[in-house]
Point group: C2
Chain length 305, copies 2
C-alpha cells in the first residue's frame, strides 16, 4: 500500500510586533487554503508562528511577556485555524510560546504541536536546545534571549502516527544538532517537522553571517540523509522588526536531496509528494542501524557528567 | 601563539592488484616530496593506501588474503616512507590492512596511523564502522566484503597531540556517521584525518550512485561544522581494477566550508594553511557543548541493547 503524502510547508513572512494574533491567524488560514487547493494533506508552519520573534528584546514587564504566550491551545485567537482545518479535512503543525502549569509551577516553553484532521493535538513537543543567552547583553544589536524566556523541554523527542507514518517534531536550533535526528530515527520517526526563526546576523561571530543559508541546509540535509528521514524545514522569513530572518523553507528527501524550496522570504506555500517508503532506501542499506551502528563505541554521547 | 599548520592531503590514484608495495610506496614518497616542497608539515594519505581495495573480491586462500595485510609497521616495504619522512622532517598519516596478535588470537583490522617527524607512531586507529557484507553475494557486480576481511575496532575514537593540536583518526565509512565526529570532539579533537576508498557504484541501491559525491561532502562538511573540526578527507580515486572510486579529496574548515579540493582522480597533492584556533569560532559559540548540548535528552544514542 502506498504511503505517499502531499505535504505543504507554509513559510511565513515577518510578524511585526503590532500585528494582532487575529491578523496573523488569518494569514495562516490563507496559507492553509492555498495548500488545500494543491491537495496538501498536512500543512507545516514555522516556530513561534503566532507572534513576532520576541526574544530579540529584553522585556521586564511580566504581563507584557505573557502577551506573547498561549495558555490554552486552541484558545480564542487560534480556534479559527483549527476550525478551518477541520472544514478542509487537513492536518497541521505549528509552533508557539506556551505558558503552562506543571507540578505546581508555571513554566514557559517554546512548543510545537501536530494536529490531526479532527483538531486533536496528537503530538506536543517542547524545544530541547534553547540557544542564545539568559541575560541582557548590551553589546548586541538585538538580543537572543531564548534562555531567559524559555525553560528547556524536559522530555526527549517522541513520535506520533499519522497517515500510516511516524512523525516527530523539532524546533529551530534543534535542527543544528545531529543528536536530534538520530534520537528521532532510533524511535522510528520517518518525518521530522522543524519550524525555525533564524536571524541572518549572528552576533557572537558576525564573520559567519554569510554562511547562515549554507549551515541551514547543511544540517537539515545531513540529518535527512544520515537517518533516512523526510525533513520539512519551515522558516519565518523576511524583515521582522528590523531583523532579517533566513528563509529557505524546504522539503528534504531521505537521500538528503532538496525536493522543494521557497523562492521568497514572504508568506509562501511549497509542496512535495512525499513517499514515506523511501525511508527504507537509506535505513535498510547504508544506515541500517542494526547492522552497522556501534553504540558501544559511543560512550560519551549520552554521558551527562 | 599561532597554531597554523600547513596540511597536505595526498590523494592517490588507483592501486592495481599487480602493483608491488614497493612501487606504491614510491608514489607515496613522490607525493610527500611534492607536499614538502609546498611547506607541508603533515601529509595525509587514504585508507588502504598500500594495496588495491581487495574487499571487492572474495578470496578464500589464506596466504593470498595475508598478502594484503601488514604484520609490522614499518615493515620492509614501508620503511622507505618512514625514512624519507624523517629526512624531510614531516609528519604523516595513512591507512593499511593490519594483521596482529591480540589476547592470543590473530585479528585483521582496517587501520590507520599518525606518525610524528621522528617516525614514531603516536596514534593508531582501527576502523569502527565496517560497511558492506560478510559473505559472498553473487548478484553484485563486485563485492564489498569488509565485514568478511576485517574485525571491527574495539576501542572508541581517541586523540593524540601534535603541533600543539589534538588529532583524531577515522576511516572511510566512519565519516558518514555523525557519532564519529561528535565522539572525537567530546574528547577534544580539533582535526579529523579521514582516508577513504568509495566505489561510485553502490550495489544495494544503484539509484543513489549519482549522489555519491554529494553524500561524501555532505557528511564531512556537516561533521566539521557541527563539531568545529578541521576535516581532512583523502580519497583513493580513479579506475581501480575496473571499479570507479570517488575522488573529491578535500580539506574542510571548522565552518564546514571546503578550503581545498582535488581536481583529479589521480595522485594529487592539495594543501591548506589550517588555523587550528578557528575551532573556537564554532565550539565557543553555536556548538558550545557545555552551554547548549542536552545529553540527558539523548538516552538512546549510547544504548547497546
Amino acid at each position: 500500500m502506498s504511503r505517499e503524502i502531499v505535504i505543504a510547508a507554509a513559510q511565513m513572512g515577518p510578524n511585526q510586533r503590532a500585528d494582532s494574533r487575529r491578523k496573523i491567524v488569518q494569514r495562516m488560514i490563507a496559507l492553509m487554503e492555498k495548500a488545500a487547493r494543491c491537495g496538501a494533506q498536512l500543512v507545516v508552519y514555522p516556530e513561534l508562528a503566532l507572534t513576532t520573534f520576541f526574544p530579540r528584546w529584553y522585556i521586564k514587564d511580566t504581563s507584557e511577556i505573557d502577551s506573547f504566550f498561549e495558555t490554552e491551545m486552541p484558545g480564542a485567537d487560534t480556534a479559527p485555524l483549527f476550525t478551518r482545518a477541520r472544514e478542509l479535512g487537513i492536518t497541521f503543525s505549528f509552533g508557539f510560546a506556551e505558558k503552562t502549569e506543571q507540578a505546581g509551577g508555571v513554566h514557559h516553553f517554546n512548543t510545537s504541536v501536530l494536529v490531526d484532521k479532527n483538531s486533536n493535538i496528537i503530538l506536543r513537543y517542547r524545544k530541547i536546545h534553547i540557544p542564545g543567552h539568559s541575560q541582557y547583553e548590551s553589546w548586541r544589536p538585538f538580543q537572543h534571549l531564548e534562555k531567559f524566556y524559555f525553560k528547556p523541554g524536559t522530555e526527549p523527542f517522541s513520535t506520533a502516527r499519522l497517515f500510516d507514518a511516524e512523525f516527530s517534531l523539532a524546533i529551530c536550533n534543534d535542527r543544528r544538532w545531529p543528536e536530534t535526528y538520530r534520537e528521532m530515527a532510533l524511535r522510528g520517526a520517518e518525518i521530522a517537522l522543524i519550524g525555525y526563526n533564524t536571524p541572518m546576523h549572528y552576533a557572537p561571530m558576525p564573520s559567519h553571517d554569510h554562511l547562515q543559508s549554507f549551515h541551514n541546509h547543511l544540517c537539515m540535509q545531513a540529518g535527512a540523509y544520515q537517518n533516512g528521514l523526510w525533513v520539512i524545514g519551515v522558516a519565518k522569513a523576511g524583515l521582522e522588526e528590523g531583523c532579517q530572518l533566513l528563509g529557505q523553507t524546504c522539503i528534504i528527501a531521505p537521500t538528503g536531496e532538496i525536493a522543494a524550496q521557497a523562492s521568497s522570504t514572504d508568506d509562501e506555500v511549497i509542496l512535495a509528494l512525499c513517499d514515506i517508503d523511501r525511508v527504507k532506501e537509506i535505513r535498510e542499506n547504508v544506515f541500517n542501524f542494526k547492522h552497522h551502528r556501534r553504540p558501544e563505541m559511543y560512550p560519551l554521547l549520552s554521558r551527562t557528567s
